[in-house]
Structures are given as C-alpha cells and as structure tokens.
C-alpha cells in the first residue's frame, strides 16, 4: 500500500528527528562537549609527558597518540547519547512509534558522528602543535582517513552503547566490549595517518584504506541488522 519512496521519506524523517533531538539536547547541556575537548587535550599532554621529551620520538608517535586520544575521549560521547532515553522512560516511548527501529540507530549514529568529528577538529590541530607535526601538506588525505576511521568507530560505539548504557557497570562495559573490536580500525587508521604525515605514501596505504572501507561497510551492515535485537527491552 505504501510506496517505497514514501517509506523511505518516513524513515528519513524519523532518523532526522532523532538526530535533531540528540543535537539539540547536546547543545542545551553544553557541558559535555567542552568537558570532552578538555579531556582530549589533557590526554594529549599526558602522552607527551609519558613519551617525551625528545621531539623526534614525539613526532614518530604522533599518529598513534592522536588516534588513541580520539578513542579515549570519543567513547565518552556514546553512553551519553543514550542517557536522555534512560530518564523518565523515554526509551520505551521511543520504541512505541510505528516504523523501523533502525532509523533510531541511524539518527543516533549521525549525531555521535557530528560530535566526534567536531572534537577531532580541535584535537588534531592541538596534537600538531604539541607534537610538532606539520600536517597542512597532507590535509585532504588526512581528512579522508579521519572520516573513514571515525565512521567505523562511531558505528560500533553507538551500537555497543545501546547495551552498555543499560548495564550496571556501564563505564567499564563499553570499553571492554568496544575496544577489542576496534583493533583493525586502529591499525589501519594509524598506519595511514603515519604514512600521510611522513609523506611516504607507498602502495601499502591503499591496502589499508581498502581494509578501512571494508571494515566500515561490514560493521555498518551488521549493526543495522542487529540493532532491533539490542534496543528492545
């Protein structure tokens, strides 16, 4: 009875509504974004103390440190994105609307993606300064790698947080579930970033990029398929 186009429009509206709601909530409680950015800066500085003070060492370690900082600070966003649903029974109301539950996942994923990308816009320049790493020459490629890596990170993070945020030990549960799954992504992202920053872009990087894309596609599909099972009570 419904056209496919009409269905899609409806689901897109639902995803858009969740995205709008999450971003609006985040903007109203601004504290979270600022706290995460400051935390990321702190992590960068701490890594600097732990690995430095030799400038050469720091420059070599920069790619790894950037991505670890993104992981440790970005993860703070995921449980938070479900927090508004857990207060006052909002999640149950959310699940009562007719329509595909996967749109809810897409909306949350996009909201988290925007959040983490925004954090990275500040973290990467900070790292470039602290670790003395020139990056303007590699900017377009770097932006691409950051986007691909963040997408996989946010996909899995949003997915696992749907479970972890509803468990008693949520602070430790999310990293425990999420970080082992991110190993291929971390390896690929760091290797490509290092290759780009050091300017020696061998054919190797292309394999890693393919791995990154495959990782993103596989887990986007898998999480979309599995979300229904996870979001129910």
């Amino acid at each position: 009875m419904r056209s496919v186009g009409g269905e899609f429009r409806r689901e897109a509206r639902r995803a858009g509504a969740v995205l709008w709601k999450d971003l609006l909530t985040e903007r109203r409680t601004k504290a979270n974004f600022n706290a995460v950015v400051f935390f990321a800066g702190l992590v960068l500085v701490l890594f600097g103390f732990a690995l430095g003070p030799d400038a050469g060492t720091l420059r070599l370690a920069a790619s790894g440190v950037i991505w670890l900082t993104v992981l440790f600070s970005g993860i703070l966003a995921f449980n938070r994105s479900y927090q508004s649903e857990l207060e006052g029974g909002a999640l149950e109301s959310l699940l009562l609307y007719p329509g595909d539950r996967r749109s809810i996942f897409v909306g949350k994923l996009l909201a988290n993606l925007a959040f983490v990308l925004l954090v990275e816009c500040l973290v990467v320049p900070m790292a470039a300064v602290l670790y003395d790493v020139p990056l303007l020459h590699a900017l377009p490629g770097l932006a691409g790698i950051i986007l691909l890596g963040t997408l996989g990170f946010v996909t899995l993070g949003t997915f696992y947080a749907a479970m972890a945020s509803r468990v008693r030990t949520r602070e430790v549960m999310l990293p425990l579930l999420l970080f082992p799954m991110l190993v291929p992504l971390l390896l690929a992202a760091v290797t490509c970033t290092r290759a780009l920053l050091e300017g020696d872009l061998m054919g190797d990087a292309r394999t890693w990029i393919r791995l990154l894309v495959a990782f993103d596609v596989i887990f986007l599909a898998a999480t979309l398929a599995a979300f229904e099972y996870v979001i129910e009570d």
Binding site: L176, P180, M181, V183, T191, Y229, V230
Partner: protein, 256 residues
Amino acid sequence: MAATQPPVTTLPPPPASRATVPAADRPSRRLARLGWAALGLFALTNAWAVAASEPDRMMGHLQKIMYAHVPTAWSAFVAFFLVFVASIAYLWTRRDRWDHLALASAEVGTLLTAITLVLGSIWGKPTWGVWWTWDPRLTTTAIMLMIYAGYLALRAFVDERERAARWAAVVGILGFVNVPIVYMSVRWWRTLHQVQSSPRSMDSTYLVGLLVNSIAILFVLAWLIAARAEAARLEAEAETLAEHRALGPLAGERRA
C-alpha cells in the same frame, strides 16, 4: 523428557547405590564416561607423538609443545565458531538450548584460548628470548580472548535472563565476524616491520602427529562443551523448579 507431565514439586530421592542410577542421571554418567575417554585419548596421542617424533632440527624437544599448543588453538577457534552458529540459531528460534550451547562454547573457548596463549609463551621464551611477540596468530588469539571476555562479562552483568541471552548472541556474532579481519590487519601490520619468524617452520614429520592430536582434542572439546551446556540446562531447570515451589504451578506448564 515427557512433554505434558505436570511440574515436579518434590525432588527425587538420591540414588541408593551405583547400580540403581535413576534415568534422569544417566546423561551425566554418559558424559563423564565420554570425558574420561576423550582425555585419555588426547593424552595417548600426545604421548605417542612426543615419543615417536624426532627432536626438531632447530629447537629440539621444545618443539613438541606444538602437539598441545596447535590443537588447543584450533579447538578454541572451533569453539568460537560454535558460539557464532549457536548465537544465530538462538536469535532465529529463541529456544533456550541454543543459548546454553553458546554460553558453554564461549566459556570453554575462553579457557582454551588462555591455555593457548600460555603454551605459546612457554614456547616463545626459549625460542625468541621473550615471553611475548606480536606474532599475528598469537596476537589475534589474544584479541579473541578479549572479545569473549567481554561476552562473558556482559552475560554476568545483565540481570534478566532473556535479555542477557539476546545481547550475548549479538556480541558473539559480531565478535566472530571480526576475527578474520583482526587476523588480516595484524598480519599486514607485522609485515611492515620485519620481525621474528613465526612458529610455522616445522618438520613434516610433525604433521602426522599434529593431525592426530587435532582430531583427538575435538573429542575433549565436545565433552567440555556438552558438560557445560548440560550444567546450564540443569541450572535453568532448577530455577524453574524453584519458581514452581515458590509461586505454585502454572496451569499446565510445559518444560522447554
């Protein structure tokens, strides 16, 4: 199990002597026998392989640890594949028996993975001089261990039975999907920096021994998983029994 029996409200009396084992206990007796047979077989094949093979050209008798290490690693992988299959089956059918199988396979798999890593380290220390090296297979095994430790932690912290089973199934499926990806990525990562050789280089005389042991350990695996799954099933039954005693039987309740 008879399908339409009324729920049991009193437990059967313990068996008077070994000869009169009640029917309900016979599966566990069979399992115990299977267990002894499997362990015995594996011990035998290992002993034969260790005795019958020559000391390795490079590593001497130490190489024979492979007769335990390789089968353990391979059976851990089989266990995780079982978690994957049982998880899918559970989500598809929602029958508890698949959940019991998934839990059992995950626990046994985690145990075997830990053993694999320990044996690998024991081999590695005299060979490479270090307890740990970022060898792709060993590293992937370590990541696998962490993925399934997360699986078990999730089950432990989710209170409601059905939700725990459902969520664990999803985690088990995604975790297994990631294993080949992890392996590939670690392998490529390692080839970027020429490091130590992997423990692949072995004498062909070892292959027969490995094959025999790998088959023998499958029996051990089957026994461990069957025993654990049976324990899980019994736990679930005991809970249902306790419910009946506490709340009174449901009208015509059937056992799963």
